[in-house]
Symmetry: C2
Subunit: 743 residues, 2 copies
């Protein structure tokens, strides 16, 4: 039976609580109390073998006795009882169960038993081990959270139950309301992607907030987030920035692509705005309350304190955005209403004795300037004016402007708590978010900018997959040959052959099986020569003295190889020496050394990297990540995030480097990631880049021991785009495939 749609979660007609209780302080009691006091208008059934008489509820001894099938059941029974409850609920026709019970683990088998029990009916499961679920527009509080949020436009999906209560409490003081709050618990069945889909389609939801510890179904998550972010802001706080990756990797790319950074990269790709701290999540939520979108990056600042204006400017330098240049007409009109001491420019300093009327007049003029996209209004308390009055003036101007069709985000910054308390409700009623410090207000503006950019990023054409059949054939043969020898590391010559097959220029290199072959190989190559060790046990050759450069003659190459063999035999006696890679040595000259690579993330699969290369690559840590497949535009954007890109752009009398060549190499690796799931790690290091060309001087490729199935994540961009389109077109919504049917 196909699983139920989650839509019933937001507006069920009836409810049941399995394990509801009247024992004070128990989870079963708190959730019943929350349900009853939440204002839900449909019937609330309590299922408990023991008779219960609680106002606003109807008691039944068993699930089978329920007079109707509630869409939603809340389960607060001991863990061991959950599978049977789920089976009974399914049989009764219940669509969704929110399981508060803890202790259903993989180890004790209860988690799997619960999922099995749900399968016949298609019952959806939220939890277990969560704090529950709230849908304030339906008066529904099926949780044991403290506090009851107001209805509003924010949807919160949290992998931490404890943070849910904190966020509800915080939001209540600020008159911020929620369309839904979900504590996802262990995400045994319903996961982040499902819930993003739910709130993307919910008309009450203006913005989706996520607290994420780990993504369980990345393909579904990415697809849902991409679709949602096209129609409303999706803001995520990812915990675990400080966690060590801990993964054993054999490439520089693997060592440099930390899990947190890969999440950040995936979020950006999906149009999710990532925030770094809980304070930022709060601030972003507050800034997005009014649902106003920025039309551009230009901010005007209005203040009654010069110092506060300077601090806002300072903070804007980090938060992003441009200081609006006020038009001549605006300046003339301001001159007419402001005292002589005003700042005559942006920030607009209204001077310390500014009255509510002065704020109103100035804001009227500034909001009507077409060169202004948003306004930050600041107020420092003074003994000469009342903060509430100033807020009234500001609110009046904003409301009047909206009446004239001028809808621009206005952000308030009222210094001091008493000042904020007086102004807050007035600004809030006018849809103006308020902050207590210039930096917080500037960061809020930064979040609005980030939402605008995230949405713009989704509007570019989808990244196409460009299969390279010829290259793939060559590569599979190389991989097969290595695997037949029991190797998971391609040697340098194999690695370069693979890259050549995908169109990456490599320096001519031959494999000498022994020292006796070197002279003949040198005769085929132009001097000077480079000689490198080839051994399945040696990945980082420089570390063991396995690279000698700048050898002028074949004799010198032979001597170098002989000494190298002796050196390595001493320090790594267990290493098998396959031979020596002999190549033409390309002098570094004025070229840049880059690294371009591919590694595997535990969650998101293949990850591309580009950055400063050479031997010092892990010391420099200058790199940017990207998810395949990516097109040339995304590859270019990725390169531009590195520090070395500033050098590649050219400076003084240095010409620009062949950045398009680097773009081509990144695209080739993207194609390899898609075509060859067997390639788990790949470094081109260094990639020599000068004004005219790029050339892979060295490469290492690590493959899987067994052939891999194709990655689910990278091969369906077209399908993903199709879903995004259908979600953004309400008429097509019903036709969209159900999330649980995907990937």
């Amino acid at each position: 039976m196909s699983p139920y749609n989650l839509a019933a979660l937001l507006s069920p007609t009836s409810l049941a609580v399995i394990g509801g209780s009247d024992a004070p302080g128990s989870v079963g009691q708190v959730v019943v109390e929350n349900l009853v006091s939440g204002g839900f208008t449909g019937p609330i059934y309590l299922v408990n073998p023991r008779p219960l008489s609680i106002a606003g509820t109807r008691w039944k001894a068993t699930i089978a006795e329920l007079p109707e099938a509630p869409e939603l059941a809340v389960v607060a029974v001991p863990a061991a009882a959950v599978p049977q409850v789920i089976a009974d609920l399914g049989a009764a026709g219940v669509k969704i169960a929110v399981i508060l019970s803890a202790g259903l683990t993989q180890a004790n088998g209860l988690r799997e038993a619960m999922l099995q029990a749900a399968r016949p009916s298609g019952l959806r499961i939220i939890g277990p081990n969560g704090l529950g679920f709230l849908a304030p527009h339906a008066g529904l509080n099926a949780s044991f959270a403290r506090g009851a949020p107001q209805p509003g436009g924010l949807a919160l999906i949290s992998q931490s139950g404890a943070l849910v209560s904190g966020l509800i409490d915080w939001a209540t003081t600020r008159q911020l309301g929620f369309s839904g709050v979900v504590s996802v618990g262990d995400m045994a069945e319903v996961d982040l992607g499902d819930l993003i889909d739910l709130f993307a389609a919910d008309p009450h939801t203006d913005a989706i907030l996520l607290y994420i510890e780990g993504v369980t179904n990345p393909a579904k998550f990415m697809s849902a987030a991409r679709a949602a972010a096209r129609v409303k802001p999706v803001i995520a706080l990812k915990a675990g920035r400080s966690a060590a990756s801990g993964k054993a990797v054999r490439s520089h790319t693997g060592a440099l692509a930390g899990a947190y950074d890969v999440h950040a990269c995936a979020f950006e790709r999906a149009g999710i705005v990532q925030v770094e701290t809980l304070t930022d999540l709060f601030d972003a939520a507050a800034a997005l309350r009014a649902g106003q979108a920025l039309a551009g990056d230009r901010l005007s600042i209005v203040t009654n304190g010069g110092g506060a204006g300077i601090l806002a400017l300072d903070a804007m330098a980090s938060a992003g955005g441009d200081l609006a240049e006020l038009g001549t007409e605006t300046l003339t009109r301001l001159e007419a209403v402001l005292p002589a001491g005003w700042s005559h420019g942006n920030p607009v300093d209204l001077v310390g004795d500014a009255s509510a009327e002065r704020y109103r007049l100035a804001l009227d003029i500034i909001l009507s300037d077409p060169g202004v996209d948003a306004v930050l209004v600041m107020n420092c308390p003074t003994a000469l004016s009342k903060p509430g009055d100033i807020a009234q003036g500001v609110a009046a101007s904003v409301v009047a402007a909206r009446g004239q069709g001028i809808v621009k985000p206005v952000i308030g910054c009222w210094l001091g708590d008493a000042n904020q308390d007086a102004a807050g409700p007035i600004l809030s009623a006018a849809g103006i978010p308020m902050f207590g410090a210039p930096d917080a207000a500037a960061r809020a503006f930064g979040h609005l900018l980030a939402v605008r950019r995230a949405k713009a990023g989704l509007m570019t054409a989808p990244a196409g997959h460009d299969p390279r059949a010829d290259g793939r054939t060559v590569a599979l043969a190389l991989i097969q040959a290595a695997r037949s020898e029991g190797r998971t590391l391609l040697n340098e010559v194999e690695a370069k052959t693979l890259l050549s097959a995908y169109g990456v220029a490599t320096v001519p290199t031959r494999l000498a099986a022994g020292i006796e072959d070197i002279a003949a190989l040198c005769a085929e190559l132009a001097p000077p020569y480079a000689v490198k060790i080839v051994s399945p046990q040696i990945v980082h050759k420089s570390d063991v003295g396995g690279v000698v450069l700048d050898l002028a003659t074949a004799e010198a190459a032979i001597t170098a190889a002989t000494e190298m063999r002796a050196r390595i035999a001493k320090i790594l006696p267990e290493a098998t020496i396959t031979g020596f890679a002999v190549g033409t040595m390309i002098p570094p000259g004025r070229a840049h050394e880059l690294i371009v690579g591919l590694s595997q993330d535990a969650t998101f699969g293949p990850v591309l990297m580009v950055g400063a290369g050479g031997k010092a690559v892990e010391v420099l840590r200058d790199r940017a990540l990207g998810l395949p497949p990516l097109d040339s535009e995304r590859a270019r954007a990725m390169i531009s995030k590195t520090r070395i890109s500033r050098l590649l752009a050219g400076y003084r009398d240095e010409p620009p480097a062949d950045i398009e060549g680097v773009v081509g190499v990144v695209e080739a690796l993207s194609a390899i990631a898609v075509d060859l799931p067997d390639v788990v790690e790949l470094d081109i290091n260094p990639l020599r880049v000068d004004a005219d060309s790029v050339l892979a001087l060295d490469a290492r490729v690590v493959i899987t021991q067994e052939p891999s199935p194709p990655s689910g994540l990278v091969i369906q961009p077209a399908l993903r785009e199709q879903r995004a389109q259908s979600i953004s077109d309400p008429a097509a919504e019903e036709a969209a495939p159900h999330p649980a049917c995907r990937a």
Copy 2:
């Protein structure tokens, strides 16, 4: 007559208000109302030609009629009347005047007239154009700020009046009190250094907070801050981070040493903890409330929500500090009191249903672990416990530990506003600062760490000045010769000679006056050669093709010089060609290219810089600043702040570079900065650094047109240290020279 000491400001016995008023809403009325309601117990005289009858005050028509000389007078008369009022106050024996009046400018002459009027009596002047002054311990509110702060341990010195009211308002809600609040206004006479001295010696003051827009007397400021920071935390927020430097500079060092960064460097040198935002200033103030000092960097985290604990860890990664490793005994004791699901490590997750008692027991154990220097206690609201109860448990544990002599900073983080409102007063009474988000709490810990480090930094031996008489003689002759030719730019050969005289190794270079001299010079030098243009109009030679490297023979050098002359004649026809610098070309090989330089800051004078050099120096922007004079330890610390220092340290098979050689070059430039105030800009770029040696390959030196007096800032380290010692020794305080007598 010598100026009065400012100490009377904090506890005057009587006061006068000149220009006090009863006109509602006027500055004169508000300040009188604040004074009367502030609770000052001595007489308050109102001087106004018009009779005034205001409860708590005594009216006099003129200053001459005052029955005694108040130590302090508040002046709120029109600007034009201020100079006469000052003269009269001085004649009457008043010691300090706080001038609220605005409009005394240099342009209208009133500022100078006011200062002249004060000179005969030694009257001190605070302001004009400030919000006034508050000394809550004396019940003194001589300001027109909104709100009245409680007495407490924070001193606030602000260059913005508007921010003062905001900070007072903010602090009042948080039960934070002040020892003093000064709105310094235009700082016509009393400046930041004077006030830092005042609060450094004030026993009520535990910490000094500064809001700084610009430092007017840097020598006094640095000296006062250094002395103060040895005995109590000094925290500064510097506005103007985003301001463009706007200074015309001719060196890379000058271009890369922005005014904000130089302030940061000076603050660090003075032991001032710099914060970046107003939020951070708030947080630092709250964290320092209890006056507790950290004994080490190891933090333990206690939480009832795993997610909150992870977020605190994430934030700690940016804020600094180490996660404490709990001792075996601690773990065993915790095991005995915590439920099975606890985290068994740090962060200590007490699990969602943690009671107040569980918090108390766990905290007792953790606080007694000698491996823990501070504790962050977090609480997420749950429906299962009351936030006030938890706070009681935490406070009880902290108070009990103090009773046993265990005094370690404890920081609270209570999520949610209702939660905070319930817990705040309880924690506050126990001296525990509270924050509303894990990142804010972690930053607060970071501020405590910064205070600890700033103080430790001041305890190192003072940087000595090492005059280099021989080098100075050589240098002055070179400077005199260039000046006699009307030049302010030394040519490359002169610049290298100057550096050699200060012990910096330079590559052999000769000046060829014309192309005909090149052959003879090449005969004296080892090939290959480098040829560079020498022209007083050309500072950045590469930009105009004025550098050709790697010339194998004298013939090649001659050809290069001939082509160079033609090329420059075309693009810079106005440039005078003095000749060509011909030198041995040192191939880059495996060496690093650094820049070491010296420039002038408008406020703090000479500034040293070290960083990644070469042609791309301004693209890389990898540099650290330092103020002369500095010793080898400070030079080493400066180098370690650059990204390139990670490469210099050696990596993989690359040996460490000659960092001590670089230290020597920085010290040489420090000596040049002290010995030669005529050298206003100096770049060594590149400084070639390999494993064994450092070598200046190119250098440029800009001198003043006229000889300069020695810099007041750099030559008195001994005096500065002497003052610092005397301030930290209360007995010696009286003997310290008065700040106004200094520099």
